[in-house]
Symmetry: none
């Protein structure tokens, strides 16, 4: 079975939007064993959208279109699909009720053009959109299956999971299934990881071992294809075992697991609580942890204390310490971790202070210099890591937050050396 | 003049790589006045690459291909282009010398397959690659111009600047320049915005007015084409003026400006300071504000207080209030905003409390219910907005943080009604 992807939107052709839907959907289809040979991007122009739909239906079994389902006159994906498939657009009562319900729930006024979103090509099936107003649409046309999905990723991704992947899985009797498994590492650099797995990466075995690089993340994807999901998993298992034997201590999670998710889980399993005192990361670490459902049970408190006044008022750090050692110093970092732990009554305390840049650096405290402290144990001891991160303000914030997560994970697993590289 | 973009690489079809080249090149071509109607992604398969090249040359004047120039047997963009254009691949002495020099410089051993990268289609011109081994290639074929560029962004982007943009500029004697300007709005829904600008969106004037939708953002793009950048800007100006006259109070910024950036700027201009008390948003608002250089001068402190204990300890909110009214209530929200302002000595205080989900909702306080409070003025008054947001945990967090930014902006501009819709 082959699928083809079509992304509709002039903002993509003008470079105003990064097409993350392409990567998301491609990854999910590959994981489901669906072949994709072409992806196309086209603007908000009905004749061109129609031509792209015709071409795609001529070479693939399944067409998935993203974008162009909004309420405005620019949005014409449904019109184009209806024209190519020779169907009328008809009002769909359930979709209209859902749109009206959406506006009532958020307390906004619905305008007449939102009702355009409740039109469905004849014989099509609406896919509910819990995160927006445009329903998705599924149309069976002879042997071809067409999905029309909204462009915003927060609406697109849930519909891919809820409607596209299950439908395509049901269409593959006895086909080959591709299974991918991602192993995620922390506390080890990308090139060291690659060097230590080089024999597996080069091997032409039934399981592909490929490094996946993205900002501050080190991961490996294992992929195998077989007649069933179980058979593909059985091919992957021994390779994963080998990698775990070599690099297990750096492996923090698999597949969609995230480092904040692992830290929240480890804290919950151990019934431990955490408090954060952030300076340069400015709430980023708290934000990452509170993205995880259940974080409220383990994260007692967070303090964002940029200024000396806030460090004194909220964290009881004497102004004299800040002036003596400087706000970006091991001493202030220690005091932040220790005091936020004590004030909140948490089991573990984190303190982060750094020079995020772009300004504010000096010879003694250059942009990127970071201290990350972890207060734990029966005494008042704080373990402080000193790092210098390269990159933009956002990158420095992300790396400092990540270092704190690595230290928390190591501590919770009782292996305190893996981050000391 | 129209250009078409072709991205070659199975890693794109499998979702292992995010296609940032597409956005980069599209943005540069739009700014240079080159029309792009189609972008295609295809895998490392020679017949399919050849078919895509043929299709593109059938409908565009310029074809720009990215990817498939590496040293491995998977890399076959040159082979495909040579086949379609009926040319042989010939060794290029300068490219070979450059590749040998590159390996000498980085101290790595050159392998035999790297010499494949020094082959150039007959009549083509090598484009030097200072950042890697694969030269780019430029081929004039009758009236058509073809560029073959390497896929890694660190090699691709410099070649776009050095070779593609100048060549296309030279092809446009007295050519047209496209200028885009984005107007960003808050406190107004997308469809209401469109309703109020419908006449301009439909008008076939020299300036295109198009809505741009993304998560929680409402924006309009104005685009004009003219013989010079100044002439294009002159076309946009009166349309922008008209939109400002109608919707100026909702317009918070233009082009790359962000709402947190505007709030930090307004605070700095007015020499006012801010403190935050976040519950459900868990530090997200502090994180967004501290992404802005200079935030440290205006953001005195932030507190992330999920638990009753943290609300009592860090924000001096009596436990009885929390149990009487519930943690997600107008009363607790008010107290959070008022107390964080008082404790930190800031001019403005924000309190946010909501049910982010997915669990934890009840009939009285459903998932998505949010209170956002702004404490300001000489007394102890707090203005509290009650909202219900739909969507995932992350979406609820983002919308609640955005509402706080909208209220801050309104207050700083002295127009307190625009968010009260």
């Amino acid at each position: 079975m082959t699928a083809e992807l079509l992304f509709v939107g002039t903002e993509l052709l003008l470079g105003q939007t990064l097409n993350t839907n392409a990567q998301y959907l491609s990854g999910r289809l590959a994981a489901s064993g669906v072949n994709v040979f072409h992806q196309t991007v086209v603007g908000d122009n009905q004749p061109r959208v129609e031509a792209c739909i015709r071409t795609a239906l001529g070479r693939a079994d399944v067409l998935i279109v993203s974008g162009g389902l909004g309420p405005t006159s620019d949005d014409l994906t449904k019109e184009a699909a209806a024209a190519v498939l020779g169907r009328r657009l008809l009002p769909d009562g359930a979709s209209r009720a859902a749109i009206e319900g959406y506006f009532a729930a958020v307390g906004r006024r619905m305008t007449e053009n939102n009702l355009k979103q409740a039109l469905i090509p004849e014989g099509g099936e609406a896919i509910p959109n819990p995160n927006g107003t445009a329903p998705g649409i599924k149309i069976q046309d002879g042997s071809k299956l067409v999905f029309l999905l909204p462009g915003p990723p927060s609406e697109f991704e849930p519909m891919v999971e809820a409607a596209v992947i299950p439908a395509l899985g049901a269409m593959q009797p006895g086909g080959q299934t591709i299974v991918s498994r991602v192993l995620r590492f922390c506390g080890i650099g990308e090139s060291e990881l690659e060097t230590r797995l080089n024999d597996l990466i080069s091997a032409q075995s039934g399981t592909t071992v490929a490094p996946l690089a993205s900002l501050g993340e080190v991961a490996i994807r294992l992929t195998a294809k077989a007649e069933s999901e179980a058979a593909a998993r059985a091919r992957i298992a021994p390779v994963e075992e080998l990698i775990r034997a070599r690099l297990g201590r750096y492996l923090y999670g698999t597949d969609q697991e995230s480092l904040p998710g692992v830290v929240v889980r480890l804290l919950a399993e151990r019934r431990l609580t955490l408090a954060l005192a952030e300076s340069c990361t400015g709430g980023l670490l708290a934000d990452q942890l509170t993205d995880i459902p259940g974080a409220s049970a383990v994260l007692l408190a967070g303090v964002v204390a940029y200024t000396g006044q806030a460090k004194a008022g909220l964290l009881a750090i004497p102004r004299e310490s800040v002036s003596e050692y400087g706000p970006v110093s091991e001493q202030v970092c220690s005091a932040m971790a220790r005091n936020v732990r004590r004030i909140s009554g948490a089991d573990l305390g984190i303190g982060i202070t750094c020079v995020a840049g772009p300004g504010g650096g000096s010879a003694k405290t250059p942009v990127g210099l970071a201290f990350i402290g972890l207060a734990h144990g029966p005494g008042d001891g704080v373990r402080v890591a000193r790092r210098v991160f390269r990159g933009s303000r956002r990158v420095v914030k992300c790396r400092a937050a990540k270092q704190a997560l690595v230290m928390l994970r190591d501590r919770l697993l009782g292996q305190e050396d893996s981050s000391g590289h």
